[in-house]
Each structure stands twice: as structure tokens, then as C-alpha cells.
């Protein structure tokens, strides 16, 4: 006869109380693991939402980025550099000025180490008559882009195609009325030009503008080596306060100039972009705050529930052990009288509680394995935040806790003097 067979036979004899104890353990383990699973499930769901939110933010910001880039290409975060003498009121009223500055300013700027500007376009502009076409035309001399020297191979691609010598590009009102198409030859102020491009309607002064090579326009207007302005495009505008930097950098290279930002759309877009970004960030922060708050509430609830269930289970185990000891008191007295020592008696009584712990944990794990996917949609063994050692710890600690709960009644029972139990006086 071994203690193990005695324990086993006793459990089989009083199986209902053993099953009740095992169930209590199983319920508390399921509650504990279930609570963790619920929390983890919540974390995963909110992480997924957060990921989606981040992706959406990135998508929106990318859309803004593309939009801004397009805007910058079309409208630009455009800096116009004018000679100091230019009356800006004229610019604002007519759209162009007549004061000139040396064309070499462009080269000076391009040869510097300017970093806030990506594209430099020298221009000579003047409103002229087109006698052959019977129209007033804003003649626009463009040279194409001046490459910024220090960027070398890394410099940005050209934004505006230069107009070749002998070619002319016409705004909508200039070609549409006269049924001029690309490839036609026209005479403009006594010079023959090949029409290189005809523009769509833009709804502004561009529609009565003719673009030609800068050197040709300089020659036509009698202003060789002169320009009215330099258009600086695609200025670095990631943040709003970079405008000051742009101005400051250009003024340090070309002190005899004045700089204005002629288009505010790009800024508005940049503001919108920054606004959208900060709005999304605020949404994200709010989401994170809400998530933390909800998680804390859930965690608090699950902690309280787990502790409550575990405490009730342990009290239940203690009660069952106490009942078991009361029920077996004659047996305990007899075993003690026969010579079974205190420690072995304690072992026999506690083994029952330990086995309840082992069986309860095992039962709970089987239940969790089978139902985890159905209830929490996760594989609890792989994904609950226990880890391998956590599971081992759980499997070991539950029987130990069960043993601890049974300790007092078991100790009291094993310590009872057999004579008290067996006395027949």
C-alpha cells in the first residue's frame, strides 16, 4: 500500500467533492486566463485600429503631399525676386513690373549654396502690342531653369520647359480666336516664330501671354542682359516659418533685391496639410487616451474578477478540505494509531488538494484550448501574454495555491491526537 494508491482510492470514493473542487479551480484558471485573453484581444483589436488609423493618416498626408507638390509645380510656393527699385504696387496692379536687374543675378544665386530654393527662373516681362494679331500681349521672356550648381546630380528636375529660340508659346485668347495651332508659323512684331505650344484656358493674364526665349525677348524689347524678376519655385515649405528662412537666405546673396511671395494658395495648402496632420495626430492621441482609459477600466474589472474568483475558489478548496478532514477523522485517527506519522498523514490529505489543482488547471487548459478561438478568437496558448514560462508557472502555482488553501484544515486534521478520536471511555 502506497500513499498514492490511498489518495487515489479516497478520491474515487469521494469523487463528488473532488470534482467540485476541481471545477472551482478550473473556473478560476479560466477566469484568470480569460481575463488576460480579453485584455490581449482588446489590445490586438485596438492595435489593429491604430494601425489602420496610422495607415489612413499616412494616406491622407501622402495625398496632401501630392496635392501640394502639384500645387507647387503649378503655382508653387513661389518667391518673386524683384529689383529694389521696383514699385510693388505696379506688380500688384498690373501683374508685372518694368524695373530691371542684371540677368547675372540668377547665376549668382544659382552658384551660391542656397538650400531653401529648388528652381530658379529668370524672366523679362512687358505688355506689348501685337500689330499682326491686333492684340495687346504680355510678352514673357523665359530662359528655362538655371541649374543650382552645388546640388550637381542631385538637383531637382526642371519644372518649366524653356522655350527654344524661334519658337513661341501662346495663351488661350491669343491662339483660340485666330485658330492658331501648334506647328503654325506666325509673325509677332515683325519676327517669324514657330508656334511651339498653345495653352488651355487658365482664366487669367496667362491667356493673353506669349512666351518666347529670354534672349529673343531681351532683343525685341531692347533690354539685353536684363531681367525683371526671378521666379523661385518649390521653396522648401514643410513648415510655415520656413518662409522667413527663404527670404533671409536670398537677401544674403542678392542684397539689392526685394522678395515677395505672390501666391498664397500653396501656403494655404501647406497650412491645410499641417492642420490635417495635427488633426489626425490629435485624433490618434485621443484614441490612445481612450484606449488606455478603457483598458485600465477593463484591466481593473478583470483583476477584481480574477482575484474574487480565485479567492472564492481557494476558500472553497479550504472548505472542501475541511469537510474532507471531518469526514475522514476516524480514518485519520486509525492511521495515526497504526503508526502513520504526521508528515505522511499531511501528505495524504494535501495530495487531494494538489490533485484538484492539477486536474482543475488541466481541465481549464483543455477548455481554453477548445473554446479560445470560439470565444476570444485567439489561440490562448500561443497568444495570451503568459509565454512558455508563464504557462509552466501557472501549472505549478495553481496546485501550490490549492495546497496552501488546504493547508490549515489539513494541518489541523493531521495534528489531531488519535486518542481524542478513538477513545472509548
Amino acid at each position: 500500500m502506497s500513499p498514492a494508491s490511498l489518495v487515489f482510492r479516497e478520491i474515487m470514493h469521494r469523487r463528488i467533492s473532488f470534482v467540485l473542487g476541481t471545477m472551482a479551480i478550473a473556473v478560476s484558471v479560466v477566469c484568470l486566463v480569460g481575463a488576460l485573453a480579453v485584455l490581449e484581444s482588446f489590445d490586438r483589436a485596438t492595435d489593429k485600429q491604430l494601425g489602420e488609423m496610422n495607415a489612413e493618416t499616412e494616406k491622407i498626408l501622402k495625398a496632401h503631399e501630392d496635392e501640394i507638390r502639384k500645387a507647387m509645380k503649378g503655382l508653387g510656393f513661389n518667391i518673386h525676386i524683384y529689383p529694389d527699385a521696383q514699385d510693388l504696387a505696379e506688380i500688384y496692379s498690373k501683374g508685372y513690373g518694368l524695373e530691371t536687374m542684371p540677368e547675372s543675378y540668377v547665376s549668382k544665386l544659382a552658384d551660391s549654396d542656397i538650400v531653401t530654393v529648388n528652381h530658379l527662373l529668370p524672366r523679362l516681362t512687358q505688355m506689348v502690342e501685337w500689330p499682326e494679331g491686333d492684340a495687346s500681349v504680355l510678352l514673357f521672356g523665359v530662359r528655362g531653369e538655371e541649374p543650382i550648381a552645388f546640388r550637381g546630380a542631385n538637383r531637382k528636375g526642371e519644372l518649366i520647359d524653356p522655350v527654344a529660340k524661334g519658337e513661341i508659346a501662346l495663351g488661350y485668347e491669343l491662339h483660340h480666336r485666330r485658330k492658331i495651332i501648334t506647328g503654325d508659323s506666325i509673325v509677332f512684331r515683325g519676327r517669324k516664330f514657330n508656334v511651339g505650344k498653345t495653352h488651355e484656358r487658365r482664366g487669367g493674364i496667362d491667356d493673353i501671354t506669349a512666351w518666347a526665349s529670354l534672349s529673343v525677348v531681351q532683343e525685341m524689347l531692347g533690354k539685353p542682359g536684363k531681367i525683371n524678376s526671378i521666379l523661385a519655385l518649390e521653396c522648401n515649405c514643410e513648415s510655415l516659418d520656413r518662409l522667413g528662412e527663404v527670404v533671409s537666405e536670398i537677401k544674403s546673396i542678392l542684397p539689392n533685391t526685394q522678395i515677395i511671395e505672390v501666391e498664397s494658395k500653396a501656403l494655404a495648402r501647406a497650412q491645410a496639410r499641417n492642420g490635417a496632420k495635427s488633426l489626425r495626430l490629435r485624433d490618434k492621441e485621443k484614441f490612445l487616451d481612450d484606449r488606455e482609459s478603457l483598458r485600465a477600466t477593463r484591466e481593473g474589472f478583470t483583476n477584481v474578477l480574477s482575484i474574487l474568483v480565485a479567492s472564492l475558489s481557494l476558500i472553497w478548496i479550504a472548505y472542501l478540505t475541511s469537510s474532507n478532514v471531518r469526514e475522514r477523522i476516524m480514518e485519520i485517527g486509525t492511521l495515526s494509531a497504526i503508526g502513520v506519522g504526521f508528515s505522511r498523514l499531511l501528505l495524504v490529505i494535501l495530495s487531494r488538494a494538489v490533485l484538484m489543482g492539477i486536474c482543475g488547471t488541466f481541465l481549464a487548459l483543455v477548455f481554453l484550448a477548445l473554446s479560445g478561438k470560439l470565444i476570444w478568437h485567439i489561440d490562448v496558448f500561443e497568444r495570451v501574454a503568459f509565454g512558455f514560462y508563464g504557462w509552466i508557472g501557472l501549472i505549478m502555482s495553481v496546485p501550490l495555491l490549492s495546497c496552501a488553501a488546504a493547508w490549515l484544515p489539513a494541518f489541523t486534521g493531521a495534528q489531531r491526537a488519535p486518542a481524542e478520536i478513538l477513545r472509548n471511555d
Binding site: M1, S2, P3, S5, L6, R9, E10, M12, H13, R14, M330, E331, G333, T334, L335, S336, A337, I338, G339, V340, G341, F342, S343, R344, A417, P418, A419, L422, R423, N424, D425
Partner: protein, 235 residues
């Protein structure tokens, strides 16, 4: 039968005193009890209920610590043994038979008689159990639960359990108290046989028939030995 009282006694009690409760109403369960039991002796302790018979058996059986007096079992002064050592000493030297049998209800007959091996492993436990069950006429019952046995069979099972580890002393507390005459005789025969083959038996009883089966009788009253058919310890 040889003179059973030659040589050292298996149990020697000197002036044992045991009091239950405290002042002002203590109950003196044993009052200066002295007794010797030798190997081969079958001693009956007689007396009315509450006279201290069971207390004397429990004290000799090391289940109660006397308040005063000396006790030696198998030449061992019991006062020198620690409580844990007393358990193993009890397992090696003393067997108990109780009026209510105290069999373990969920173990069958064979398992019940093997229970003492929990305290003291025995190499030939199964063979000895089978042999004793055969001797007691329980061979056909060895896989029966106690609830499936008659009272006599239960007491014989309890007797086999007491004999399993070959103790030097059997303490039987009212072993025939719950038995009919036929079963009582059977149990008494086995106890007598055990003493005849060299064991010592102390039986507490108030059953006159049982008393007469013993080789020697002492009479107790109010915790004292008040009579003995060998004239010893009479006060």
C-alpha cells in the same frame, strides 16, 4: 501453555497517572496504575464503562502521554522517544483492534490489511496478508469493501491488520463489543492463539465471556486497578 510471565515484560507501566480536564473538576482517568504484560500473555482489563480501561490501552499504545509515571514497551522507555519516533515505534511494536473496527471504507479487505505498510514497509506484505486472511477465513473476501462484510468479518479484518507488522503487543479495546457470540468467540480464539505463539495481548472488556478467555484479568474502577486474579497491584 508455558509460563508466560518469565523474562522481561513486553509492556511495563509504573504508577501511570492521567487526568482529563483542569481544576476545579479534573477527571482522574488513571490513578497510579502499574502493570506488566509479558510475551505470551493474554491479559484482560475489566471494569465498568468510564473506569479507565480505554485510557490505559491508549496510554500503553502511546496514543496518550501520561501525566506521571513510567512506561516501557519492548525495553524502550517511551518518555525518551520523540513524537515522530513514537509513531514508527508504535507501527513496529503495537497493533490495535477497536470495538468499531475502524476499517477504511473505500479500501477493500486486502488493502485495509495492507494499510500498516504505509507506516512501515514490509517486504512480504502481500504474501503475509494473503496468509493471514486465509487463516482468518477471509480469503474469499479480500476484494470486498468493509460495507460488504459482516461485523465478524470486519473485526477479523481489523485483527489481520493489527497482526500485519508482527507486533509484540496487541491492544484490543472491546473487540467483541459489536459482535455476536459466535463471532466474538472467533476473534477471542485468534487473540488467544496470538498470545500462545509468543505475542502479548491486552484486551479491555466488560464482557464476562471475553474476560474468561484471557489468561489473566485485572479489574479497574475509577482509574485504579482494584483487583487482579494473580493478586498483583491490588490496592
Amino acid at each position: 501453555m508455558t509460563d508466560s510471565r518469565a523474562g522481561n515484560p513486553v509492556a511495563r507501566a509504573s504508577a501511570l497517572r492521567k487526568i482529563y480536564g483542569e481544576s476545579p473538576d479534573p477527571v482522574v482517568a488513571l490513578d497510579e496504575v502499574s502493570l506488566q504484560v509479558h510475551a505470551g500473555e493474554f491479559l484482560a482489563v475489566c471494569g465498568p464503562s468510564g473506569c479507565g480501561k480505554s485510557t490505559l490501552l491508549l496510554t500503553i499504545g502511546l496514543l496518550l502521554r501520561p501525566d506521571a509515571g513510567d512506561l516501557e514497551i519492548a525495553d524502550q522507555n517511551i518518555a525518551e522517544l520523540s513524537p515522530s519516533r513514537q509513531s514508527s515505534f508504535r507501527a513496529q511494536n503495537i497493533g490495535f483492534v477497536f470495538q468499531d473496527f475502524h476499517l477504511i471504507p473505500y479500501l477493500n479487505v486486502l488493502e485495509n490489511v495492507l494499510v500498516p505498510t504505509l507506516a512501515q514497509p514490509l517486504s512480504d506484505a502481500s504474501a503475509r496478508a494473503e496468509m493471514l486472511l486465509e487463516e482468518m477465513g477471509l480469503a474469499a473476501r479480500h476484494d470486498h469493501l468493509p460495507s460488504e462484510l459482516s461485523a465478524g468479518e470486519r473485526q477479523r479484518t481489523a485483527l489481520v491488520r493489527a497482526l500485519m507488522l508482527r507486533p509484540r503487543l496487541i491492544l484490543a479495546d472491546e473487540p467483541t463489543g459489536n459482535l455476536d457470540r459466535e463471532n466474538a468467540d472467533c476473534v477471542l480464539n485468534h487473540l488467544a492463539h496470538y498470545s500462545e505463539v509468543g505475542g502479548a495481548v491486552v484486551m479491555a472488556t466488560h464482557d464476562e465471556g471475553a474476560m474468561m478467555r484471557a489468561g489473566r484479568r485485572v479489574l479497574m474502577d475509577k482509574g485504579r486497578i482494584v483487583g487482579s486474579d494473580d493478586g498483583g497491584n491490588k490496592r
